[in-house]
Amino acid sequence: MSALVENWPALLAGLGTTLLVLVTSAVGALVLGTLVVVARVSPVPVLRAAAFGYVQVLVNVPLLALLLLAVFALPDAGLLAPLTLTAIIVLTVYEAAYVAEALRSGINTVPRGQVEASRALGFTLSQTLRLVVVPQAARAVVQPLGNVLIALLMNTALAATVGVVELTSAVNKVNLVQAEPIPIFGAAGLVYMALALVIGLGAGRIEKRVAIRR
């Protein structure tokens, strides 16, 4: 236990980095994923194909491979960014594919008939999306998006492998000195669980608030 107490500034800094990476890449992935899904359901074939390709490539390549590629290959190509920023960008691009898939599953829950009904009433495509599809799809995607964000939280630990000193990396460093793996990694595990719980409970609350009364 003393190992944790003595090293709390380093551990706290690691936790801070984890939260920074989590929040920034979560916001980025939600924005980028929304753009991708709009392209995915648009009437423009080129946009649809591009969005489909984006999602397929990113869900079929391991995140670790993407991180290594970005950290070691991009500087070779003349693109040099700080490690933490690189990790945030890679996580954003990667998780956006999952956000897009979660949003698309939500859009698919809106009955086709309601889309036809709104077209029959004279709504344009953008009005149909804005007034009928999105408000209902939003209610179906809260929980899946929560799961994507929890996965993102867990994936931030992979940034440790490319030298970002986030929570997992920080506890690893402490353990190398203190050699008390059970309390040190156990505590880190509890912190991740607590964060995941916060995301899960938050999603549950939002879902209740926006649920359609049946």
Binding site: P111, G113, Q114, E116, A117, S118, R119, A120, L121, G122, F123, T124, Q127, L131, V132, P135, Q136, R139, I212, R213, R214
Partner: protein, 252 residues
Amino acid sequence: MSAAAPSRTPMVSLQAVDKHFGALHVLQSVDLDVAAGEVVVVIGPSGSGKSTLCRTINRLESVDSGQVLVDGVPVPAEGAALARLRADVGMVFQSFDLFAHKTVLDNLCLAPVMVRGTPKAQARREAMELLERVGIADKAGHLPAQLSGGQQQRAAIARALAMRPKVMLFDEPTSALDPEMVAEVLAVMTSLADEGMTMVVVTHEMGFARRAADRVVFMDAGRIVEVAPPEQFFAGGGSERTRSFLSAVLTH
């Protein structure tokens, strides 16, 4: 054919309309004029193309060839012009398709406010009058899921009427309803017909066809087989195919 002189522009006109679904030739050179104020009931076996015919009128289904005109204007292929035309053509679907996240009142107000630019207060007032008329004013604040099927379909009719359409299309409006709820929906449709609304109704309700139709259109295998006033149509003087269909649907 009705005796009415076709001197005025028909409200709806299908001219040599052809449509395929893959290999299936679902509409085969279909011609049909519907005069203003006329009620045309389209009947026929499943798969005969009657729903598709109805859906080509506001271009929920595109056509391969031929022309569809509403009030003398060719139906635009897409975009804002098509949306404007659809605003003038009311449609009622088999599965009601009310917006599940909006109250009944908001279902009625949404299109007038967003498409027509009607002030909110006026839209609400007119919506309440329509709900009164279809007998569900007490459900204005309810969500669609809280209504019975018959009430939902009456709300859907009111939603279409809120746009003050020139013509109303009904695509099997009672097919998804419990028998005891069919009557309340047909009553609303009958009163609409009596008030002079131009209507194209795809249905299996022969009683409604007898009572409310000016003309009955019988379709089979993508073709219009017969067009006749109901008394003549149901008298059984038509084609072999019409008689076999009628004997099948009228015996039970």
